[in-house]
């Protein structure tokens, strides 16, 4: 391997890793706030890419219908639980949030689509259609079992992943998509050609991580999310509702996953089931950070990307094997480094 090739592989790896990093940060965010290891996150990324491709082809994506169905289900569940709790006065707010808002988003997307909008608008539409999915799934699936064990939540999350993959196949068919490049810009750095798309991926990853950092450090809502992650009982005693914190975490996480889907779609062909590998590799990255550290997850994810890039050069068929084999020494190292993390989570 020459240094030229190494440089190309390195840059390629950093770009892939940056995409994983976005998903990994979202995974850590959801896990720390809700204790759910949200396996379908990769699927959310893939669905965003497929949604964007459908919008590009002037078809209304099935994810819009999914949002409508989920919104109706979530509203039904919310109405029943509010009536049971004897709190009918909260109904209008629940209706506005779980029914009107998602339907308005889908309606706006449907109307805007008729106008043949430019790419930038289509990107926003794809993100808007994707973002309600996981908060609604949270309301329908996870909130009734919010006090369950981490293992129960994980099992349900895996089941949810299979459901989403199936829906992806139903909505978008088995063909892969590749969306048009977001930029045609490219530059040469020390003899190595760097495409604008690669730069865009890295910049987007940095910008979104930076924004998240600012959100956590400088806003009360961001701090309330951190508080929920650090101490659930303590934060409830401050009047911070875990369910609300969870919804915000799912929205933000979906945004991160959606952005990564949009970034990856022009580079890799995305199929209805591509999300699983994206999600798992991001998960490996998140584990490097112990599932609790954002910088740790980002560094881990970039490491996974670089490893994958070099592994695919050495042996394309074995690249996933190499990446996932990495998990074993990491898990051994993590379990030796923190003997008490399990109990802390259960508390």
């Amino acid at each position: 391997m020459t240094s030229d090739i190494a440089a190309i592989l390195g840059i390629d790896g950093i770009a892939t890793g940056a995409v994983y990093a976005l998903v990994a940060i979202g995974t850590v965010l959801i896990f720390t706030v809700t204790r759910v290891i949200f396996i379908p996150f990769g699927d959310i990324a893939a669905l965003t890419a497929l949604t964007l491709a459908a919008l590009d082809a002037k078809r209304f994506p099935g994810t819009g219908a999914l949002v409508v169905i989920l919104a109706c289900l979530a509203t039904l569940i919310e109405i029943i639980s509010l009536l049971r709790a004897g709190e009918p006065r909260l109904l209008p707010r629940a209706l506005a949030f779980y029914l009107v808002l998602p339907l308005a988003v889908v309606g706006a997307a449907w109307l805007t689509m008729r106008l043949d909008p430019p790419l930038a608008v289509r990107l926003v539409l794809a993100l808007m259609l994707i973002m309600p999915i996981s908060p609604l799934l949270d309301r329908i699936v996870f909130r009734p079992i919010a006090d369950g064990t981490v293992l129960l939540l994980l099992t349900v999350s895996v089941a949810l992943h299979f459901a989403l993959v199936g829906l992806g196949l139903l909505f978008f068919g088995p063909e892969g998509v590749r969306t048009e490049p977001l930029t045609s810009f490219s530059m040469e750095l020390a003899g190595v050609l760097i495409s604008g798309q690669t730069l865009l991926i890295v910049i987007a990853a940095l910008v979104f991580s930076g924004l998240l950092y600012l959100f956590f450090d400088f806003t009360l809502v961001g701090k309330s999310l951190r508080a929920t992650a650090v101490n659930r009982t303590g934060s409830r005693l401050m009047g911070i509702r875990p369910a609300r914190a969870g919804t915000i975490a799912y929205l933000l996480g979906s945004l991160m996953a959606g952005v990564s889907g949009i970034l990856i779609a022009p580079v890799n062909t995305v199929f209805y089931d591509s999300g699983f590998l994206i999600g798992l590799k991001a998960f490996v990255g998140a584990i490097v950070g112990g599932m609790t550290s954002y910088p740790g997850a980002a560094i881990g994810a970039v490491g996974v990307g670089i490893l994958e890039s070099f592994a695919s050069f050495e042996s394309s068929a074995l690249k996933d094997v190499i990446v996932f084999s990495l998990l074993i020494p990491i898990l051994i190292w993590r379990s030796l480094a923190s003997l008490h993390s399990e109990e802390e989570i259960e508390e």
């Binding site: 701090k223 309330s224 951190r226 508080a227 009982t233 303590g234 934060s235 401050m238 911070i240 509702r241």
Partner: protein, 237 residues
């Protein structure tokens, strides 16, 4: 006079075991009421039920409204606050952030900076350590932070669970002085303590809880001279 907070025949169960049985108590506006009793009598359980962390049967009223079915967060929004025995601080976060989060339930954010100054005036140690992570504080400082964080919510009724637990005698005295001074601010207090003498010296009214039931109650200054209580809880001090 109607009480600002009252429990009537409150029963709390863990699975099928009744940890608290038919307890009735009330706190008047501006009063400090203490619940004393031995370890395992159900004192903490009682407060957990009062804030809504544990489900209970019976009536619970706060400022004329039934709060028995409200979630924890709704009770906090009505300015009913609990400083739990474990403090439940946000240990990875700074002292300043812990205090700021104490004010989370307040819709009106305009007074937050002023309340923060008041808390820092009351506990200068917290101001010195405002950038430090809460987890690095000493036991006494942690209790101050837990108290300060609760005060940030401008509570109408403050419930304190064993505020003196595990603290050095000098700091215990300081904490009780603080509790007594809160009454002057118009905060009503429900204080649960094993340190019965200090609690009764500070309180206006007291209840004695044994094996989940109220066995005795009366003005604190009467309880402190009660021969039975002196042998059971106050002796040797």
């Amino acid at each position: 006079m109607t009480a600002m907070f009252s429990m009537t025949d409150v029963t709390v169960c863990y699975d099928n075991v009744e940890a608290v049985r038919n307890v009735s108590l009330s706190v008047e506006e501006g009063q400090i009421v203490t619940v004393i009793g031995p370890n395992g009598a159900g004192k903490t359980t009682l407060l957990m039920a009062a804030i809504g962390l544990l489900a209970s049967r019976g009536r619970m009223e706060f400022q004329g409204g039934d709060i028995g079915k409200l979630a924890v967060e709704d009770r906090v929004e009505r300015r009913l606050c609990l400083v739990p025995e474990k403090r439940e601080l946000f240990s990875d976060m700074s002292v300043a952030d812990n205090l700021l989060l104490g004010s989370y339930s307040l819709r009106d954010r305009s007074g937050v900076a002023k309340t923060l100054d008041e808390v820092y005036d009351r506990f200068p140690r917290l101001k010195e350590r405002q950038r430090q992570a809460a987890g690095t504080l000493s036991g006494g400082e942690r209790q101050m932070l837990a108290l300060g964080r609760a005060l940030m919510a401008k509570p109408k009724l403050l419930m304190l669970d064993e505020p003196s637990l595990g603290l050095a005698p000098l700091i215990v005295r300081e904490i009780f002085r603080t509790i007594a001074s809160l009454r002057d601010l118009g905060v009503s207090i429900l204080l649960v303590e094993q340190n019965a003498r200090a609690a009764l010296e500070t309180a206006d009214y007291g209840y004695v809880l044994e094996t989940g039931e109220v066995v005795q109650s009366g003005p604190a200054k009467d309880l402190i001279h009660d021969p039975r209580l002196i042998t059971a809880y106050l002796g040797g001090h």
